[in-house]
Symmetry: C2
Subunit: 298 residues, 2 copies
């Protein structure tokens, strides 16, 4: 973190995991994003973008609050009287607790780019014959303050989501294991695909993690960013019929749809690129610079 | 709204003002953004990007919670026991209120792109001789649910921020009144610059609004998007020494710095473009399509 701040690439804000980014960092991040978009353009995905907040009812429906209550961010606001507003203002000016003057709103912070996709797809009725493929990207939030720049609370994720029959989804999911490695490898990020699990909450959560690993439902491509312990920079997830059941998504022939998603963690990939090629992106290998669309320096 | 949804440009989520965007809508929005970036590239602004959440303490310091408590979004999360987590999960699954099981975090939703800039600039010590010019863009949030697509709760804002002596800031601020009109006019958006005020809360707030108008501190460029009443699509704000005092920003000669910002409301501008030129962007005037970087159709 200190090196990245010293090089002017990251800007601390005073809260762990809430970090500003320089223009150079952004150019690298958006360059990688555009590079992946170029590769996947031929896949014919429908593109949709959702804001960084989503309806609370949607997240309630997915069971996210059961599995990851500690990571979920809910949005509160003020709905009181003029008198209470004065009280709030006074406490805020003194940096003392005013949280009891807040009430919950209808929205939560989006924890992963694909969550708003399932209710949207469900709302369109039964799937078309070949199912659907959706390209989505979003600012995501997970409440896990950490000094590690590779573990931000607020970060961008670019995903593709496949919603179809079990066979179609499994085939698509499998195809992305190698494809993801090739996409990352071409820009110099040699990664390993490892069986992974989500950070489910509590004792019951640990059993869910074990089960998820045993079934091989979640794979991650990992790269050592900030320590010797590799960080996931891409994930490849098969949800079976989890979201299909939650949102009542049916295939053309009336079965419950299966879903899978693959996601690139854009801040982490940018960090991995700076780790691999050095803090001065002007000195990166020409082929990497070309793929990332980084303009040649004058 | 119905026309935009019918044309596939916007995707409702079930919560007013929380709206998904199609790939085409995004291309137009990002095209305008890149067009402005091209025009301002020569200004030499420092580029920095902050996430859609910012430290709660920063917003407390600005007095935002005094002026706009009703618009501010604060982020809460779960920090309880396993037993409480089970209770939370059960209530969430039943869509009943679980807000008492949430506690406030250290972050709030960013209400305008420029807020994180002031503490960042302050942290760097006295300003350089010519002051600073910062280019910033962010996903912003304001809790004002509305069926009007031009009044989203979550939206993007691209700003430039000038931090310098009073004279320098006033000159820069004045220059943007016409410049903003020219930038918008070149893509077919004829706008009027009107004296405006912020939606300060309550009775005392109404007096603040009157005072802000009388001093001409806030100008907006407005365009009729969704009704006959024009919507601001760009704002030009002179804060005097408000943020300079809040964050203790000093000029090189030891005075309190003045600040001003100009901001483009990107979703509103995209909506204005669809209003002006029609819902099928392939039929827009060639010069507009060229400026927005919309690829020629095959």
């Amino acid at each position: 973190m200190d090196d990245l701040v010293g090089a002017g690439l990251l800007v601390p804000t005073g809260v762990e995991g809430v970090i500003g980014r320089s223009g150079t960092f952004e150019r690298v991040l958006l360059g990688f994003d555009a590079y992946v978009e170029g590769i996947t353009a031929g896949d014919g995905a429908e593109i949709v973008r959702f804001p960084p907040v989503l309806p609370r009812a949607q997240l309630e429906t997915t069971g996210y609050l059961s599995s990851f209550p500690h990571l979920a961010g809910s949005v509160f606001s003020f709905a009181g009287s003029e008198e209470e507003a004065l009280e709030l203002a006074e406490r805020a000016a003194g940096h003392t607790d005013w949280s009891d003057l807040q009430t919950v709103t209808e929205v939560m912070l989006t924890p992963a780019a694909c969550y708003p996709v399932y209710p949207w797809v469900a709302g369109a009725g039964p799937l078309p014959p070949a199912g659907r493929l959706v390209d989505v990207a979003c600012q995501c939030f997970r409440h896990e303050p950490s000094p590690d720049p590779a573990r931000m609370q607020s970060f961008r994720m670019h995903e593709q989501v496949r919603i179809a029959t079990a066979d179609e989804v499994v085939e698509w999911h499998q195809g992305w294991v190698d494809r993801g490695g090739e996409i990352l490898g071409a820009v110099g990020l040699e990664t390993e695909a490892v069986v992974a699990s989500d950070p489910f909450f509590g004792r019951a959560g640990r059993m869910l993690s074990v089960s998820q690993r045993e079934q091989g439902l979640k794979l991650e491509r990992v790269f050592p960013i900030s320590s010797d312990r590799p960080t996931p920079i891409m994930s490849i997830n098969y949800h079976q019929d989890h979201f299909g059941r939650d949102f009542d998504i049916g295939t053309g022939s009336g079965e419950v749809a299966h879903t899978a998603c693959i996601g690139f963690g854009l801040e982490r990939i940018a960090l991995a690129l700076f780790k691999q090629h050095g803090l001065d992106e002007r000195a990166w290998p020409d082929d990497v610079r070309r793929l990332l669309g980084l303009a040649p320096e004058a």
